[in-house]
């Protein structure tokens, strides 16, 4: 079974703090993703990566950065946390079978989520 793990289930940080959210997958997937999920807005893509050291902006990258130094690990960084970044953060990974980059053509495997509260 594919397993995607996230470093914390719950996190409370103060405004202005630098926040690191870590995600690890154990299935040798090429693609990894970071989403946030808010009531009434659904899942929104922040960033994704299709290879080590590669990244692409999603729909809402402002205020976030990412790092992928190893294939199995994808980190989301909030450089200076703000209250509007209070949300559920979900990491996902997907296989990359035919080397194409159309992310919608592959199923995604999600982690359990990190509920981040910024006060």
């Amino acid at each position: 079974d594919v397993k995607v793990t996230q470093s914390s289930r719950y996190l409370v940080k103060r405004t202005g703090e630098k926040v690191f959210l870590e995600c690890v997958q154990d299935m040798d997937h090429e693609n990894m993703f970071w989403y946030r999920q808010d009531p009434g807005l659904g899942l929104r893509l922040i960033y994704f990566s299709y290879d080590v050291k590669m990244k692409e902006k999603g729909d809402i990258p402002e205020g976030y950065s990412v790092s992928r130094e190893k294939k199995e690990r994808f980190s989301l960084i909030l450089e200076s946390a703000s209250t509007n970044q209070t949300s559920m953060y979900l990491c996902a990974s997907s296989p990359h079978r035919d080397r194409g980059r159309w992310i919608g053509s592959y199923e995604q495997y999600f982690g359990p989520g990190t509920r981040l509260t910024v006060t």
């Binding site: 995607v4 989403y35 009434g40 807005l41 659904g42 899942l43 929104r44 893509l45 994704f48 692409e56 999603g58 729909d59 979900l90 996902a92 980059r101 159309w102 992310i103 919608g104 053509s105 199923e107 995604q108 495997y109 999600f110 982690g111 359990p112 989520g113």
Partner: protein, 111 residues
């Protein structure tokens, strides 16, 4: 901009009946459409993927249709069970870098 609408926030049905969930999209033409299940406090779980040239796809008690003319996908669960109670998300994708999720329909199957 792209818009995805899932027919209702909540749907209640009796055990044993067929549940039908609707996903409508506007302002784009997805080539793929995925459906996920999400339980409270957990990440979504992939269920089915359908391509634009496929009219219908089945997996056990699940069936998905994709009508590119109506810009709509229907998700059916036959012989529904209380264990099917969850939120179901649709996610159409039209380009290399996008996969947009709907806000979901919360299904409750009443014993």
């Amino acid at each position: 901009s792209q818009k995805i609408e899932q027919n209702s926030e909540a749907l209640n049905i009796q055990e044993g009946k067929t549940a039908t969930l609707t996903c409508n999209y506007t302002n784009y033409s997805p080539a793929y459409l995925q459906w996920y299940r999400q339980d409270p406090g957990r990440g979504p779980v992939f269920l089915l993927l359908i391509r634009e040239n496929e009219k219908e796809k089945r997996k056990e008690r699940l069936k998905v249709t994709f009508d590119t003319t109506l810009k709509q996908s229907l998700f059916h669960i036959t012989a529904s069970q209380p264990a099917d109670s969850a939120t179901y998300l649709c996610a159409p994708s039209s380009g290399a870098n996008n996969l947009f999720f709907g806000t979901g329909t919360r299904l409750t199957v009443i014993p």
